[in-house]
Subunit: 351 residues, 2 copies
């Protein structure tokens, strides 16, 4: 496990579990009795300020504003746990809040479930919990319920975190690949590939002159602003595992339409491009944690680019009648090639 | 990993992933591209028949009946994966559906998130998925969204499953330790300890003459029937990790009241009692996966016992003004002792 610092406090905040007594996770932290109770009551609950059904119950009861419910989940197994621009806690919160946003929902509440490996450093856990608290505040969601399990040394990798999330889809919003139409614009919210390269470089597999930080960021505010005109936005998808390529292939397949994109229009930072060339990676397949595509009516393009920032977002292509499920890329050289999903694994444990 | 059978089909149903091509999980099953897609589209989605927002999106949109939302989560790391009376899939579904029931909610939908270890047998996964499908049908919930991650060999233990759940709390239902009152009856829904002993015996730590099966079962129907008179039921708690003892200590602490129970009233099967004596375990701390306590107005006792079955459920004690947070047990010998949470771990990875 990579840990940058070994001090007894993080960011000025003292770890609420006495490190002299419990410098590391022991099996009984998952046993459901005293030590589990201590972890929940001293660390998790005060950090997340979850309001639960009953003062000490493992479930939350929420009053929802009017609308349909969006519900999603992700387990996070990223390695290393800490990387430039974030850590597993940041990802766990933003990842699930962003999945809700991609349903057109306003994220409301998250659950947080920890699988801890016996021997995991208590201070690393505290540092991750602080990241989750800060990320939740930034994303405008509350962590309202959770669970803790401990597995024996050698049966995990420090910490795995599952977050599930609920949100409300406002009336009139209907986000789905089934809604995209020939002529729709494909809008990309920013540059590609930084999360993938940040993880590789944090693994020490790559000696880069400058540090490339993950792009991980909450997306719901941008999505909410786009959906001020709900009828204009047909489909949304964040570009995590599998990157832009997998997202487009899935949408083209689900909609029965063709999607054509242009390489020149896709922003990739020079340092990310350089790292890709060095490693033989294709930025289209690299994971991102703060980027998405919106497929929208062509007449909405200008408004959406203004909402997302004209310096960052780009129209990268369009939907066509064409062949169902086909995605093509017009290269910088003017040739056209098919974009497909990878059969193998480009980067394991990227999120 | 304990696997009872190695045949190429389970329960007459063929594994939908060709075992000749993929007898075991490989890293790319978690890569977010072709193999992940294959696993989701061929195995998980058909088994669970989840309706998601968009044909291939990682989130579900649900229309809720009127009421407040209950939201809960649990990660399941039980070892071994298969045991008499159930498996990790059964537990993952019943566990989370039961947590919703304990909030007074009618369970509606679950998420299912898998952390698979590289090399895990595809057929074991299929067997677990079938258990989840059957358990969801039995519990009356739908599995509507999910996630799959794969970690390297030696960084997991075959499979870990997180389930989160949403349900609706009907108007008038208010379940919380804060609502219990001196004089309330403490009702136990059935005999204690079978899940804990089933797990121990499945680990081979114990040579028992007869097989003790886990009590794992869905609880929402019983709870729904009890809550036909919502004002009568003050608090509910399932007796999982930490058992009856941890549940009562938590409730007594949260309510600021004392709870007194009688050992003689607590049903423990003779074979479970025998195993406990052999192992030095206390049935009060053993985990159950289909048992709960209801704390209710004393005048509701008769009706609740009828709902839960007079052959199974028992009044085991009462709430008293007494000392805040204290739980006492009147032993079969007539003495009274304090019931407390264990500081250590009785049985790791029980759920």
């Amino acid at each position: 496990m990579a840990m940058a610092a070994k001090t007894a406090s993080f960011d000025g905040l003292q770890c609420p579990i006495p490190l002299a007594d419990y410098p590391r996770i022991v099996m009984a932290h998952g046993g459901g009795e005293n030590l589990t109770h201590q972890l929940v009551e001293r660390m998790f609950r005060p950090a997340f300020q979850g309001k639960t059904c009953g003062a000490a119950h493992d479930g939350a009861v929420l009053t929802l504003p009017h609308g349909r419910l969006a519900f999603t989940t992700d387990s996070h197994v990223v390695s290393p746990l800490f990387f430039p621009g974030g850590d597993i806690g940041t990802l766990a919160v933003f990842g699930t809040a962003n999945d809700l946003a991609m349903c057109g929902a306003k994220p409301l509440a998250l659950s947080a479930s920890f699988i801890l490996e016996e021997g995991f450093e208590m201070e690393a856990l505290w540092r991750i919990v602080c990241s989750m608290r800060d990320a939740a505040a930034e994303a405008g969601v509350k962590i309202v319920t959770g669970d803790t399990k401990v597995v024996e040394r050698g049966k995990g990798d420090g910490i795995y975190i599952n977050t599930a999330g609920v949100g409300v889809v406002p009336p009139g919003v209907d986000i789905s690949p089934a809604r995209i139409r020939p002529g729709d614009a494909v809008i990309l919210s920013g540059d590609l590939g930084r999360h993938g390269i940040a993880i590789i470089s944090a693994r020490g597999d790559l000696a880069l002159a400058s540090t490339i930080e993950s792009d991980c960021a909450p997306l719901a505010r941008d999505v909410g602003a786009m959906l001020a005109e709900p009828a204009e936005v047909h489909c949304l998808r964040d570009l995590t595992r599998g990157g832009l390529a997998a997202a487009l292939v899935e949408i083209a397949g689900a909609s029965g339409l063709q999607i054509d994109i242009r390489e020149e229009a896709i922003p990739v930072r020079a340092d990310v491009q350089g790292a890709c060339e060095l490693l033989g990676f294709d930025p289209l397949h690299l994971a991102n944690e703060g980027r998405f595509i919106a497929i929208a009516r062509p007449e909405a393009t200008k408004r959406i680019l203004q909402v997302l920032g004209e310096d960052r977002a780009r129209v990268i292509g369009a939907v066509a009648e064409g062949r169902a499920g086909l995605v093509t890329l017009k290269t910088a050289l003017g040739t056209r090639r098919v974009v497909s999903m990878l059969s193998g694994e480009q980067l394991p444990r990227i999120c």
